[in-house]
């Protein structure tokens, strides 16, 4: 698998995480240590101001009827992936301002809109589409609709991007302004 990690300026990406495949990380996004992001079925694009916490896993799964060229998995801005959550999605798009709470699981064929909250330890496995501002919580997967989007975590992002460099080795941003075709992965040398 080719490694093509693009980190935009302003992103805080810890060195101690597994990034595989074609991944673009937007500015202002914070990726904690021990995060796994695997783009095996196609590129993963993470927009700005996302928080991806420890032990969370985002996989763009390979599917049998793969399109050529593969469709990217686009994760919108201001998404929060809390500790230990898992997202396995081959279908294109995750909206913005969603919260994936601790140890939640979002399986394949789940389309997530914007402003959704997948509660702690909730498992979404059946094919479904979450409308905007859907909140799922509890062991019985109660569903309700929030009136407004979840408040953004700007203060938290600000704090994390200041504190993280003091305690963790970081991957340096390797893309300036517009993502060019230049492939300059830091540690993991790209294989031809």
């Amino acid at each position: 698998m080719s490694h093509n990690i693009k980190i935009l300026p302003g992103a805080t990406v810890c060195e101690d995480c597994t990034l595989e495949g074609d991944i673009t990380i937007g500015g202002g996004t914070v990726i904690h240590p021990r995060v796994t992001i695997i783009a095996e079925g196609g590129p993963i694009i993470i927009a700005e101001y996302c928080i991806i916490e420890e032990y969370s896993t985002i996989i763009h799964k390979k599917s049998d009827n793969q399109e050529v060229p593969p469709k990217p998995l686009f994760i919108g801005a201001h998404n929060v992936f809390e500790v230990g959550c898992r997202l396995e999605s081959p279908c294109g798009h995750i909206g913005e301002s969603n919260v994936f709470e601790c140890r939640s699981f979002v399986g394949v064929d789940v389309k997530v809109g914007s402003g959704c909250v997948i509660g702690a330890s909730c498992n979404l496995t059946a094919p479904q589409t979450l409308a905007d501002n859907t909140v799922i919580w509890g062991s019985e997967h109660h569903i309700r609709e929030a009136l407004e989007k979840q408040p953004s975590q700007l203060l938290q992002l600000d704090f994390l991007s200041k504190v993280m460099p003091n305690y963790h080795r970081l991957r340096k941003p390797n893309v300036h302004k517009r993502p060019p075709s230049a492939r300059q992965s830091q540690e993991s040398s790209p294989r031809p």
Partner: protein
């Protein structure tokens, strides 16, 4: 921990005949009997809010309808709501990409709203305006049936008053016949109502009878609103409709739409004390401070009755013998003599219907607030229904007192006896034999009943009148869960 997470393998028989694990039993040091939550008196000691730990007397709690005035529960998921602060900016939307401190508005004001961390419900969802103070000030909704509610309340109060009056009258007559006590009203020939009149108290009868007379009972009506035309054709949006539990959580309004949900004032919690019904002594009494989880009195069976645990057992087969390893622990600070017995060999519980002193019964009957019928102690023999019997060795076992320091020596003394596996400070492991009835049906739960005779040293300072002996021989029966009878 095992007691919290595992099923109850060993159950003790309470004096009322219930089977309970040792952790949910009490031990009355005055009756020397095991008691359980079913056969003791539960009394409310204090009311407090579990969230803000505010303490309040019961009269205040009743006035506040047993709800805290400053804490709220989520109307959507019933989790406690948290107060969150926001900076209310005047129009000027902050540029998220800028992160520039200069964009900050000068005219910000701290505003508070309620938010649920579990389901993310906020008071903004239902249009409750943000408050400028952190606690209190939340709009209260008035009960639409308030006047009817007050009417009913007055009516039932009047009825209660009347019944109380009648009961008092009856009691007075009963004791008048006995002739032992002369009440004031007997002596002076006054009736209760006249005495009340003289004393300037409200004439109970006339007041209550007026309230009863003017009361209009509710009328059932067959007329209901027509269903809307689109009731069968309109799509149901379940996200907009409240669940049954959400409606019942606020019985006054019973909102059918989620937009009508309103924060629920948090229900108060209570601290209970437990009292033995036979001797009226306290079995447990918590400390008054709501933040404390300690007890002033804590007579739990766990501290007084030998504890039996199953180490392991062989599969129980009908008509066969199997091995059973048990561990006995002496929780008391005194040496304990234990003998295993068959439940049917226990001395029968003596029926001693104590002739209660007339003073005491008078005192109880005058205490009209409490229904004395619930004070009766229940004594029953449990249906054990065990298909296996444990062969009890004849020997008396001696268990040393509990010694917390001995926990740190780990040399188990090997005993030469054929049924004692090991011995360690106040613990003892036994190898016993279980004989199962040949008629036991395979697949049925295998249970073995066992009785214990143990010596108990009472540390209650004896009452001056009745010299109590400190040493007692007590009995307890327990039921061991040995899985299922195998085929």
């Amino acid at each position: 921990m095992a007691y919290l997470t595992q099923p109850d393998y060993v159950k003790y028989v309470c004096s009322c005949g219930q089977l309970k694990p040792i952790t949910s039993l009490y031990f009355c040091r005055h009756c020397l009997k095991i008691r359980c939550g079913f056969c003791i008196c539960h009394e409310v000691d204090s009311h407090h809010c579990a969230n803000c730990l505010e303490n309040m007397p019961s009269s205040e709690a009743r006035l506040k309808k047993n709800r805290c005035s400053s804490c709220f529960d989520c109307p959507s998921c019933f989790h406690t709501l948290s107060t969150r602060a926001t900076m209310a900016a005047q129009r000027q939307a902050q540029d998220p990409a800028g992160g520039d401190a200069k964009v900050e508005n000068k005219q910000t004001k701290k505003m508070y709203y309620l938010s649920c961390f579990n389901c993310r419900w906020t008071s903004r969802d239902v249009g409750i305006p943000d408050q400028s103070v952190a606690s209190g000030g939340w709009p209260e909704r008035t009960n639409p049936f308030l006047s009817r509610y007050n009417q009913l309340l007055d009516y039932y109060k009047a009825i209660a008053q009347q019944e109380k009056q009648e009961k008092l009258e009856r009691e007075r007559k009963k004791f008048a016949i006995r002739g032992k006590y002369i009440t004031l009203t007997d002596k002076t020939g006054l009736t209760g109502a006249m005495a009340r009149n003289i004393a300037g108290l409200p004439t109970s009868e006339s007041g209550s009878s007026a309230a009863i007379a003017s009361f209009t009972p509710s009328q059932a009506s067959a007329e209901v609103d027509e269903l809307p035309d689109d009731v069968y054709t309109k799509d149901v949006n379940l996200k907009q409709i409240t669940s049954m539990s959400q409606r019942l959580a606020s019985p006054e309004w019973q909102p059918s739409s989620v937009s009508r949900l309103h924060p629920l004032a948090k229900l108060l919690s209570i601290k209970r004390s437990q009292r033995c019904r036979v001797c009226d002594h306290n079995l447990t009494k918590p400390e008054y401070n709501p933040g404390s989880i300690k007890f002033k009195i804590e007579l739990l069976a766990y501290y007084h009755v030998p504890e039996v645990k199953i180490i392991s057992y062989e599969t129980v087969k009908p008509g066969e013998k199997s091995a059973l390893l048990l561990k006995l622990t002496n929780p008391t600070g005194h040496e304990m003599q234990i003998q295993l017995m068959q439940p049917e060999d226990l001395p029968p519980v003596e029926e001693r219907e104590e002739p209660k002193s007339i003073e005491k019964s008078l005192e109880k009957s005058l205490n009209l607030e409490k229904d004395t019928s619930s004070y009766r102690a229940i004594e029953r023999v449990a249906e054990l229904g065990s298909s296996s019997r444990v062969t009890a060795p004849e020997a008396t076992l001696t268990l040393a007192q509990r010694d917390d320091a001995a926990e740190y020596d780990d040399d188990a003394q090997q005993d030469t006896s054929d049924f004692i596996l090991w011995r360690k400070s106040n613990k003892l492991a036994l190898r016993l034999e279980v004989t199962t009835d040949a008629a036991a049906t395979p697949g049925a739960p295998a249970r073995a009943a066992l009785a214990l005779q143990y010596s108990y040293r009472n540390t209650v300072p004896p009452a001056p009148a009745a010299p109590q002996q400190a040493h007692h021989t007590l009995y307890t029966t327990l039921l061991l869960d040995l899985g299922v009878v195998s085929g």
